[in-house]
Symmetry: C2
Subunit: 434 residues, 2 copies
């Protein structure tokens, strides 16, 4: 999966378009263009380190008539991508749109060594095949956002496999224990007497080695990656190379308003979620967190964000619907977004159920779901007998349609995103369990 960069789409170099080289006005026009590009690319970032570095890099690219190489490390454990991952991927896409190259790094090397928290001799926790498969799964989802051109995918085992102990020692001279311990998660774990293995302590160095190996001009990441990515700068300098610029994006907060969207927290929205799930989850967001999603998940221009803010003031519910429509549109297209909204209205608005229904996760796809079990587990009934009596008397509805005693079993696909309701007032929203 390695993209070709088409020469025509590159930011034009000085001799390419100016005709008479050194022509003052054109030079100035380019300088202004670069300043504008830097401003646009920095928009929404939490940090750009060093601050003036991005503009300098763009100038270098223009002078050398080459695209910038923008690095992003990706997780080889093969999980679903969420709107949280999308924040950084959208920034990467923005660089692609300006003619630069996205360089994705799969950290397969450490994946193959194994998880340091498991002390057993579990080497090769991820086989090469698993890592490739997981990377493909990642890319399938990432292509909802990234261009297929101007894209490189590298496995870091390619250069890390041949590193020796001597290489490690020479490199590690430039890093200090105190600086490593300042990294947020290390600092917290050290303070709380939770073990940090020496292996984990070397991970930032390995990530820095990746930047040296692929000649990164810029590295993107969440704000939790700032330290790791600064190590890349240090090691590039040591190697006599131009250090990369570190650009961090804010971490997207979870649907529960918690600090970070994460799979372990059960507060995520996946890129692969159904239109109904995505729409419903956004509608369930609390109002104060909505601007945060509008800014990080909607890929809106400044003007569009201003419109959203105006709408929020006049009609908060309409503003929330706009964000929900936009997110579904980005991952499923305009038609699906419209239909998801209509289905939602059919279920909630016209039946006047609250939009922030409790959620209940139904078993994974492939397992048949007995609606009696769901009613009991979701707390809508207190016994299976009660569930059967209510089903028989027409007191249970799925998306407004009465169920009977012999309804189901259902597959997850068939019921996720729908509302299971007892009588007029008690209901849960079924979501996909994993």
């Amino acid at each position: 999966v390695s993209g070709q960069v088409s020469q025509e789409e590159l930011p034009p170099g000085p001799e390419q378009d100016t005709g008479a080289s050194g022509h003052g006005e054109d030079q100035e026009a380019y300088a202004a263009q670069i300043r504008a590009q830097a401003r646009e690319l920095a928009r929404g970032c939490a940090q750009v380190i060093p601050e003036s570095g991005l503009e300098q890099k763009l100038r270098t690219a223009w002078q050398e008539r080459r695209p910038l190489r923008v690095k992003l490390g990706i997780d080889p454990s093969g999980s679903d991508l969420t709107l949280g991952h999308a924040v950084v991927l959208r920034k990467l896409r923005q660089f692609q749109d300006h003619g630069h190259v996205a360089v994705l790094i799969v950290g397969d090397f450490t994946g193959q060594i194994g998880d340091p928290t498991g002390r057993t001799q579990t080497r090769n926790v991820l086989t090469t095949e698993q890592t490739r498969h997981n990377a493909e799964t990642y890319m399938e989802q990432a292509h909802k956002i990234l261009l297929r051109d101007r894209l490189e995918l590298h496995y870091n085992s390619r250069w890390l496999e041949s590193k020796t102990l001597a290489d490690v020692l020479v490199t590690s001279r430039s890093l200090t224990v105190a600086r490593l311990l300042e990294r947020d998660d290390f600092a917290r774990r050290y303070r709380e007497n939770l073990p940090i293995t020496l292996m984990e302590f070397m991970y930032p160095m390995l990530q820095g080695m990746d930047s040296v190996a692929i000649d990164a001009d810029i590295e993107l990441g969440g704000t939790d990656q700032t330290y790791n990515n600064l190590v890349g700068r240090t090691l590039q300098k040591d190697a006599g190379k131009e250090p990369q610029i570190v650009m961090t994006l804010p971490l997207l907060r979870g649907t529960d308003g918690a600090e970070k969207m994460g799979k372990s927290l059960g507060n995520w929205i996946s890129l692969n979620d159904t239109p109904d799930d995505q729409y419903g989850k956004i509608l369930s967001l609390s109002d104060p967190i909505l601007p945060h999603y509008a800014e990080l998940c909607c890929a809106w221009t400044n003007a569009q964000l201003d419109d959203f803010t105006g709408l929020s003031g006049r009609n908060p519910m309409e503003a929330k619907r706009a964000v929900a429509r936009r997110v579904v549109e980005l991952y499923h297209g305009t038609d699906e977004a419209k239909q998801a909204e209509e289905r939602f209205d059919a279920r909630f608005r016209r039946r006047e159920l609250p939009t922030n229904l409790p959620e209940f996760a139904v078993p994974p796809a492939g397992q048949p779901v007995d609606i009696v079990d769901v009613l009991l587990a979701a707390g809508l009934v207190t016994s299976k007998g009660e569930a059967r009596r209510l089903l028989a008397s027409g007191g249970i509805r799925l998306d407004g349609h009465k169920l009977s005693a012999d309804s189901g079993p259902f597959d997850q696909e068939a019921i996720a995103g729908r509302v299971l309701q007892r009588g007029k007032l008690r209901a849960v929203r079924l979501v996909s369990g994993r």
Copy 2:
């Protein structure tokens, strides 16, 4: 430099001497013998970890009819050995005397990478030739204590050179940052905000890898090495091997009574010091520190130590002279010890000069020493003119003999250990400068 172990000198195994194997009385006799050996070998140690481990190891050696492999890491920077080094070397010799093998490890691998405190690109700070040369210098001195048989000398580059990054990561899973930071010097530097490089942080692991590579049964070291040597236990266990026993010896305090004898502190006594220097430095020790030297530097039995203690009570000066004689005897022989004492008496006791004269270091061997310069530099005169006038008038003595204006130039060898005296009351003791 690798010694052959003669089979006859090994501790006899169970079948070798018992005749009828399983014979109860002989078994008991061996058990008693092993207990006694363990007690003797543990004598003077600060720690034996685990406490019961030494006896168990001796039992294993006896059962397997093999000598124990007793590891000591040595410094490849090629310095003079002091009485401080001798403390551990004497313990190693004791193991040799019991038929076990001394395994010396030269840490040439990290020496060749370079000092982590120097941030410049100073790779290969020590070349292979330098390291070999330094190791030879070390061994020349160590042979004043160690047997030439039952001795192995290894360069750790032999096994560390082929280690890969993957090996390092797998090994480093077993070590935690918190435990590493508990090591005395790391703890102090971290607390004082002094940099610890990640490279240094990996050194204990490398030393542990050495123990795995040479199958150490026991590792010796000063009490400042406890943590490093415990890492060896961890890594041997990880490698499915029997973990080594860690035995630490107290650090010898310097002649100034400071915490540790060290070259940078100027408070050392070298194995290579002249008999007069050694004798004089011991006589200059303060009384409270003398028992410490008697215990760690004299290789005395318990009975001899008791004699020393008794003598200290009756005649402290005679006790000090006994320690001084004993040290010179150990490194230069009985005759030299006697002569050094006689020369000392001639200089100090009969002339009634104080024994704790200030010291003045004369230039290194090979450089001619002008006595006028020495007088001025040592503060015995205030100008070269005064020095020349005093020499001409017979006012300057070397070991009691008048010098004249045309005395010298001297070589370091000729004057180190002697007393340079102006008049009756002002004098310095000349010592070898380096």
